[in-house]
């Protein structure tokens, strides 16, 4: 009995997974509606990326179980990833240069 409940807790609840899946679908729906609104480009992009990051966090935390792992694992993986991605953003001023300085 104890053995099974222990496994069940480790296994995660069906309800939680379905709840996460539901939210993922709902957020996708929001993105879909957003795409057809007449918003300035940067606002649209900012909102879409924010929603995508929330979806990614849900998947990583619950489906990939990181929420229930040792903090040392989370800290080993996530900050480095975020940092490297942030560093890659350095190129964008150059793309804007190309966009704005192109002869018309």
């Amino acid at each position: 009995m104890n053995h099974t409940t222990e496994h069940a807790h480790e296994a995660g609840s069906k309800k939680l997974f379905i709840w996460v899946w539901g939210w993922l679908l709902a957020l996708t729906g929001v993105e879909l509606v957003l795409a057809y609104q007449n918003l300035p480009l940067k606002v649209m992009l900012g909102l879409l990326m924010t929603i995508s990051i929330i979806k990614a966090t849900l998947i990583i935390s619950y489906f990939m179980h990181l929420r229930f792992e040792r903090r040392s694992l989370v800290l080993t993986l996530m900050p480095a990833l975020v940092f490297v991605i942030a560093m890659m953003f350095i190129v964008f001023p150059d793309s804007l240069r190309l966009a704005l300085m192109r002869p018309h």
């Binding site: 099974t4 496994h7 069940a8 480790e10 296994a11 995660g12 069906k14 997974f17 379905i18 899946w21 993922l24 679908l25 996708t28 993105e31 879909l32 957003l34 795409a35 057809y36 007449n38 649209m44 992009l45 879409l48 990326m49 929603i51 995508s52 979806k55 990614a56 998947i59 990583i60 489906f63 990939m64 179980h65 792992e69 040792r70 040392s72 694992l73 080993t76 993986l77 480095a80 990833l81 490297v84 991605i85 890659m88 953003f89 190129v91 964008f92 150059d94 793309s95 804007l96 190309l98 966009a99 192109r102």
Partner: protein, 219 residues
């Protein structure tokens, strides 16, 4: 001696053993089996690869005039939305498979993995069909009938690499399902394959808005 004590207890109770029996071996600082840590490290590296490609696409798009917005609501955005739904649902079936594996339910595990594989195959079929449609409309790597020449290269590279990951994932899951059915793998192996699958879904969470929604044909 503290280390001997830990060994006599018959195995690490994590925190005590971590402090006292480092030299006895068999201590896992992250409290995960090595293959799970290995998969996580691979996932981080693959995430960086996809991030680099996405940022390269964004760079080229910002820098180019006349970036095409060819995706009509029907069939393109509808198709991409269906693909998103399929992939998200396959992540749900995968997580059910891992749960069944941890509960030692072998037959149920295989069934849930099969459902996940089906999702992957459906995704690939819809995706190839879409590719053929675009190619039929004249989209090539460095040429298309609508605008900026780099549209094709960025689209096919990004979605192509992702589709390759999905296909490899389906094969990987097939091997896991076959071996689990024969009792040759543990729930850890199912969980590790699940991590890969969720990562593939995660990448799509970013591709869908950046590649499709940002190129939806507005009125």
């Amino acid at each position: 001696m503290a280390g001997e004590e830990a060994m006599r207890m018959g195995g690490p109770a994590h925190d005590d053993a971590a402090v006292e029996s480092v030299w006895s071996g068999g201590v896992s600082p992250y409290a995960v089996v090595p293959k799970k840590l290995g998969m996580w490290l691979f996932i981080v590296s693959d995430a960086i690869t996809f991030s680099a490609l996405i940022i390269a696409y964004s760079y080229v798009r910002v820098a180019s005039p006349d970036w095409p917005r060819p995706f009509e609501t029907w069939p393109s955005i509808a198709n991409a939305t269906l693909m998103t739904f399929i992939l998200l649902s396959s992540s749900l079936t995968m997580v059910m498979a891992v749960r069944a594996a941890k509960l030692q339910q072998r037959a149920s595990t295989v069934k849930w993995i099969a459902a996940t594989m089906l999702g992957g195959v459906l995704f690939d079929v819809l995706h190839i069909h879409e590719w053929l449609g675009l190619i039929g409309q004249g989209v090539r790597l460095f040429k298309n009938p609508w605008g900026a020449p780099m549209f094709g290269a960025s689209f096919f590279t990004l979605t192509g690499l992702h589709m390759t990951h999905v296909t490899i994932g389906v094969a990987y899951l097939g091997v896991v399902a076959a071996l689990i059915g024969r009792g040759k793998l543990t729930s850890d192996d199912v969980e590790v394959s699940g991590l890969y699958w969720h990562f593939v879904d995660l990448v799509w969470m970013f591709l869908f808005p950046l590649v499709y929604l940002m190129s939806a044909k507005s009125a």
